[in-house]
Structure formats: structure tokens, C-alpha cells
């Protein structure tokens, strides 16, 4: 059988080549091998891809026909359109507006503000205040809760910073916050990979602190989240041509390995899954902010075209594609930015479906007063047990999530909620 004149065998080979090429471009880690290029199968695969680049490119076109997950838009070029600073404040207003309405109000940034740094002429710092998702003993809520809870929103914030002051060196600001991951992403967008590496190195002590408190459940949740963000960053850093960035990536991966060894077996991967859900919810929530702001004309200048797709998780990228197809380009980009911040979702995996179920749960919470989520969601995970298999989104723009779920999973709505605990 042929599809568009190409045999299935060739098509599958091309799709496989394209998938490999994409993974290689993002900087891959191979278990049990000291260096990606040192892996025999991998090495052979890469050599074949290098020889057949044109075939891989053709495979990309064919992949579109088959709607294979490997299909993703080609990496776009970053472009920054300066906007007036007051737009940033309007972004803040949009955020607060949603919070004041009391909807799905957990673990989100309460306020985003920009102010002159004072220490450095013409520089800005970003202050982020969260209502708290996971309290972390010994570390300030402002620093760590935000970094755990709202990476997507932080990416937006730093993206805004790039919009406003593309000339400002954000390195110092990044090191001031526990939110360095997202700042580092922003630096990555600027091709400041050396600064990116230094930033990530600066974050390593935080990972160590989190490891110390990893013996409590809250600590574990926080640590798990940090774990996945760190992993995402570290993996991305491996593709850098800057020695500092590569060194940072190696150090982080090394730290992760040590952290994994001391992880409390009493709290297995559900904490990671849990944070994955929070992550997705935040991303969609962030997209929702942008939808609202766009509708009000507040973010018309929000045109940061990122090159984050290569770093992102598949599902979030697909959500981004889907949003764009629905005529919501800003939200689509927002989803992609958020996608770059976690190693959370992949394909049809269960956690993804549960994450979307969680969003529905929050939507339901807003619609009929039932509390499925709330702050306790991330503190002990118990709220997840109450997520219904099917809920109705009643929360304004979150209808698109239901549509997405219906389109993606059809009649196979999430049913395996019990698998969480």
C-alpha cells in the first residue's frame, strides 16, 4: 500500500529518521552511554541521518500527511518586537483579574511586576508573587514556590522582559531568582548560551537544598518538580556549543542522578505525575490569560516567536498547534513557551490525560462550587482521587480544553484516575 506514492516501509523509515533527527537536534541523553555519539546504535542512526538529510526532510512532509507526532513546525527564528513597558503592567492586570474572580486559583502567580533594578542602569528585574503551591521549609515562598508552580507563567514574564528590553542582560536577574529555569530559557532564546550555562550552574545549589528536604512529602513534590525542570534544562544544555553550558548540563544531570538515589521510595512517581498535572494546568491557564488579554487587545504586541518547540513536550506543542488552528496564535505560542519548561508530557500517556482531567476538575470547581483541586491539590495529592472521569468544562475559555480532549481521545475519556495513588 502506498501513501502519496510512497511505500509504507519507506514512509516509516522516513518518519523514524525525522524523529531521530529531531531528538538529536535537541541534544539527547542515552542511558548507559558516556556520550550520545558513543552509543553504537545511536551513532549508526545519526550517520544514516546525516547521509540522508534530504530523505529526512521529505519524511517530514510525509509525516504531515500521517499526522505523526514527530511532525512539528520547523524551528522558527526568534524575533523580539519592543513594546511599551505599560503593556507589561497590563499583562499584570490581566493576571490579577483572573485571580480576583476566584477561579481555579491555586499555585499561580499572584502578581507580576516590573521595576527598575536600581543596581544596574537601565535594567529591570521581575518580581513574582505566588499564592503558594508547595511550601518549602527553609526557602522563601517567593523564590521556590513560583519556580515550582508556574514555569509557564514565568516564561511569559521573562518573554515579556525580552520584549521590553531586548538589550538587557538578564543573567544577573536570573540568578537572583529561583526561577532561573525560565530565565535561562529566555537567555537561550537570545542565543546567550554561555550565560544560560552559568545561570543553570547557579541553580544547582537549589537542587541540593531540595534534595535535603526530600524526606517530606511536600519536599518530595517540590523536588520532583525541580527534578523535571532541571532535567529539561540540562538536556537542552547539552546541545550547546558553549563549554560552560555543557558543563552546566552535565553537572545538573549528575546532581539528578544523586538525587534519584536518595529519593524516598515512600513517595514514588505520583509526585512527579502530580506536578506534571500542575504544570499542564498552569500552561493552559497561562494560555487562558493570553487569550483574555488578546481579546481585549492588551497583548497585540505580544509577538515573541520562540524557538522552544524543540525543547517542548509533545502534548503541549500539540495543544499549541491546536490553539493556533483555532485562530488563537498568542495562546498557541504561550502553550509552546510553557511546553519548554517541563519534562512532563508525551504522546498519549496517562498522565497527560489525567492532567487534562485535572483542568476540567478546576473548571468544575469554578462552575458549581465543588472543590476538586485547590491548594491541597499539590500538598498531598489527595484531591486527585476526586477527579471525575468526565466533567464538563464550565470555565469560559477552558472549553477549548474539553474540545481538545474530545478531539484527541474521543470516547476514551480518562478513566484510570485510581492509578494515581
Amino acid at each position: 500500500m502506498k501513501l502519496n506514492g510512497v511505500s509504507q516501509e519507506k514512509l516509516k523509515a522516513r518518519i523514524a529518521a525525522e524523529a531521530l533527527r529531531k531528538v538529536h537536534a535537541a541534544g539527547a541523553v542515552i542511558e548507559g552511554a558516556p556520550h550520545p555519539a558513543g552509543s553504537p546504535i545511536w551513532k549508526g542512526a545519526l550517520a544514516a541521518i546525516a547521509l540522508a538529510g534530504a530523505v529526512a526532510a521529505a519524511g517530514h512532509a510525509d509525516a504531515k500527511t500521517m499526522k505523526h507526532p514527530a511532525q512539528e513546525p520547523a524551528a522558527s527564528t526568534a524575533s523580539f518586537k519592543p513594546i511599551e513597558p505599560h503593556h507589561a503592567y497590563e499583562f499584570t492586570a490581566a493576571t490579577n483579574e483572573t485571580l480576583e474572580s476566584g477561579k481555579a486559583d491555586w499555585g499561580r502567580i499572584k502578581n507580576v511586576s516590573y521595576r527598575p533594578d536600581g543596581k544596574q542602569k537601565d535594567s529591570y528585574s521581575v518580581e513574582l508573587h505566588s499564592d503558594g503551591l508547595v511550601p518549602i521549609p527553609g526557602l522563601s515562598t517567593k523564590t521556590c514556590t513560583v519556580s515550582v508552580a508556574s514555569p509557564g507563567n514565568l516564561a511569559f514574564a521573562y518573554g515579556q522582559m525580552l520584549d521590553i528590553r531586548p538589550d538587557v542582560d538578564l543573567t544577573a536577574t536570573a540568578q537572583m531568582h529561583g526561577t532561573a529555569t525560565c530565565a535561562a530559557m529566555a537567555l537561550l532564546e537570545r542565543d546567550q548560551l554561555d550565560a544560560y550555562g552559568k545561570t543553570r550552574l547557579g541553580l544547582a545549589p537549589i537542587a541540593r537544598v531540595l534534595s535535603v528536604i526530600g524526606n517530606s512529602k511536600n519536599g518530595w513534590a517540590a523536588y520532583s518538580a525541580a527534578f523535571e525542570f532541571e532535567a529539561a534544562s540540562a538536556l537542552a544544555m547539552l546541545k550547546s556549543d558553549q563549554p560552560t553550558a555543557r558543563e552546566g548540563g552535565a553537572l545538573i544531570l549528575d546532581s539528578l542522578g544523586k538525587l534519584a538515589q536518595i529519593a524516598d521510595p515512600k513517595y514514588p512517581s505520583d509526585a512527579i505525575t502530580m506536578m506534571g498535572k500542575a504544570n499542564v494546568a498552569v500552561h493552559v491557564d497561562g494560555a487562558n490569560h493570553l487569550i483574555r488579554a488578546s481579546q481585549k487587545g492588551r497583548l497585540s504586541a505580544f509577538d515573541v516567536t520562540t524557538d522552544m518547540s524543540g525543547l517542548g513536550r509533545l502534548n503541549n506543542s500539540q495543544i499549541g498547534d491546536w490553539l493556533e488552528a483555532k485562530g488563537l496564535p498568542h495562546a498557541g505560542r504561550a502553550a509552546r513557551i510553557g511546553a519548554a519548561t517541563g519534562l512532563v508530557l508525551e504522546g498519549d500517556m496517562l498522565a497527560s490525560r489525567q492532567a487534562l482531567g485535572n483542568i476540567f476538575a478546576n473548571a468544575t470547581m469554578s462552575g458549581n462550587g465543588k472543590v476538586f483541586g485547590g491548594p491541597d491539590l499539590a500538598r498531598d495529592g489527595s484531591a486527585f482521587q476526586n477527579i471525575p472521569a468526565k466533567v464538563t468544562a464550565r470555565y469560559g475559555n477552558l472549553d477549548f480544553v474539553k474540545e481538545y480532549l474530545d478531539e484527541r481521545f474521543g470516547s476514551e475519556q480518562p478513566k484510570e484516575q485510581v492509578a494515581l495513588r
Binding site: 531528538v23 544531570l253 508525551e346
Partner: protein
């Protein structure tokens, strides 16, 4: 048993196996290994499981298994985690 390599990146995760045809009815993690199983639960391929894999793979459900033959990537099959 065939050798398997786990390749992870922020752009995706996959298992590589040698050959021209991908295979497997499911996959699973053991304490030390990643395994691809047949329909009877017998391991067909196996590769090492390290710290990054321990963090990432438990969160995955379906994964691409790519067969890499003498002419490069030859086949791709989506395999779901064993129940």
C-alpha cells in the same frame, strides 16, 4: 535478547533497537533495565536504565520504538507500557 538503547531528549523519547523492523507488544521497567516485551510478556530486547530514565520513563505511557538497520532508521512502532 536484542540490545536496546533509551534515547531521551527534550524533543522526545524513544527506544532504539537493531534491525529493520520495529517490534514489541509492550514495554516495562525493571530495577535495572528497560525491556520490550512480546504479547506473552517475554522480554525481546533490553537496555540499561539510568537516573535520567528513572525520572522520565515512569511518566511515559506510549513510546516510539525505532529499528535502526544497516541503512539507518528503518521502522517505527508505537509501543505502550505494560499494564
Amino acid at each position: 535478547m536484542q540490545r536496546l538503547e533509551v534515547v531521551m531528549s527534550a524533543a522526545g523519547n524513544m527506544f532504539l533497537v537493531e534491525g529493520t523492523q520495529s517490534f514489541g507488544a509492550s514495554w516495562q521497567l525493571t530495577d535495572e533495565f528497560v525491556q520490550i516485551l512480546d504479547a506473552n510478556g517475554t522480554a525481546l530486547a533490553q537496555g540499561p536504565l539510568g537516573p535520567v530514565g528513572r525520572a522520565v520513563l515512569p511518566k511515559l505511557f506510549e513510546i516510539d520504538v525505532i529499528a535502526v538497520g544497516p541503512n539507518g532508521p528503518a521502522d517505527l512502532r508505537k509501543v505502550r507500557r505494560a499494564a
